[in-house]
């Protein structure tokens, strides 16, 4: 598979994640969409590192993976905190703030 094959795959994964974020109403579903978008980046980075024979891309991937885990941990904590008080995590029903 050529470099552009991998780039196309990453773009597709990113687009699927983007679609999920924009259409899901449940906070967990939105989180999953964001995960897909971030993982599309990892495919890109690894593909570039492989085809350029450059280790920096692989190192960067390790960083993004660990940061993504931290991000999701914070995100789930916020979702749980909100669920305890409101008993819902549907984005449509979190509408106290508007104007």
């Amino acid at each position: 598979m050529s470099l552009y094959g991998y780039l196309t795959l990453a773009a597709l994964v990113f687009a699927i994640g983007l679609f999920g974020v924009l259409t899901r109403r449940n906070a967990i579903g939105i989180l999953l969409g964001i995960e897909l978008m971030l993982n599309a980046v990892n495919i890109n980075l690894v593909a570039f590192a492989r085809f350029r024979a450059d280790v920096a891309g692989l190192v960067f991937t390790l960083f993004t993976i660990s940061i993504t885990v931290a991000e999701v941990a914070v995100g789930l904590a916020i979702v749980i905190a909100i669920f305890r008080v409101r008993r819902t995590v549907e984005a449509d029903r979190l509408d106290l703030l508007r104007g």
Binding site: V41, V59, F60, I82
Partner: protein
Amino acid sequence: MTPLAMPPVAIGPLAPVLIVLGAAGLVLLLDLLPRPVGRELIATVALAGLVGALLATLARWGKPGRAFQDMLVLDDFALFANVVICYAAALVVMLSIDYLGRNGPETGEYYALVLFSTGGMMLLAAAGDLIVLFLALELMSLSLYVLAGLFKRELAASEASMKYFILGAFATSFLLYGIALIYGATGTTNLDRIAAAAAGRAHDPLLVIGLGLLLVGFGFKISSVPFHMWAPDVYQGAPTSVTALIATGSKAAALAALIRVLVTALRGSQPDWAVLLWVVAAITMTVGNVVAIAQSNLKRLLAYSSIAHVGYMLIGVVAGGSAGPGAVLFYLLTYAFTTAGAFGVLTLCERAQAEAVEVGDYAGLARRHPVLAAALGLFLLSLVGIPPLAGFVGKFYLFAAAVRAGYLWLAVIGVVNSALAAYYYLRVVVFMYMREPEGAGARLVPSFAGGLALAIALIGIVLLGVIPAPFADLAQAAVAPLLR
């Protein structure tokens, strides 16, 4: 097998950040002690860390340093941004002491998170590599997501936290995708080497798409239109002291990083991003100001006003050269003093045991608390840009840079917007001075540290307004290392 050689580690350029992060660790330790210590002590430690970092930053002025193979570039540009960030964070800590006691949980993790996010902001302004830029941005953002929702029992706070998190993580994925494509196009993540590799092939599709996605990510972080939707909700729902930090520190850091990336790494694509940012600047100013007119919640009003101010600052980024980014740096300084002060007044007022956030709550404030009303009035007048306050000089430098660079129409749009903005700022002043309070009205909650913070901010905006030249010259000099 060759022994593993430890690369030399230059601690010097890291010192300001290390002081802040060290103070954060100390705060966490103090919070864990078996016998609880007073929250004043914890806040003092946090404040001492920020003041120490401020002094360490000032001590390094004029002595640029690089560390970790150019991953961290602590030049005068980063130092100037660090001064703004440390100042804003110190003010937030001072405002928080009594505010937390009234409204929130009395825990040390609040201060630790403020310090962690401040460390992230300082690293962000000094990032010389896209990997560091991403790490610093996440350190800052993750801390701020948690801070926004720290008052778990308040419905609005947790909702603001979730909106901030989802849109922030969404923006991060765009930013990261852009970074990956730029890395793919140039084969490096170092900003200087990207500039060298990208020279002469500004229209490489990977580079162009990467630049676009990077700008989308930054657009979210600095809340420029059309990526501003999170800002009013988050500013309104988050604790007011945290809002002050989001509005000043995180914005200053993200703008500094944006300028560094655009001016050093993507200099070759200047015509492309200048056109794009021209449009974004014009729309951001106009939308921010027009929507602010309809707001009755003061925090929401200040959120839209801060969106408009990002539009003004983007004028300086578009103008480019040495005058443009220099004017943005100076504007960040004036903006941090003014906005932190305005949010500071809000943390000191309450009505019926709740925060006084509606414009109506401030009716007749001048009669009961003339000093406080005068302070808020001065901050708002500085935001309008009335001489001799700091806001006027900041805008003057921005618009002058735009006119000199040939962006006359952008400057005209900026001036028209400033006039438009006077309406909603002055409306608050009219309420304070010319209306009778309905019922009890807002009450002042005395706080020594908060009062001191407001006094510092007031002195800052008057000083910057009356004798701006030395500070503006410093800002201009700070930009020079970027333009080599």
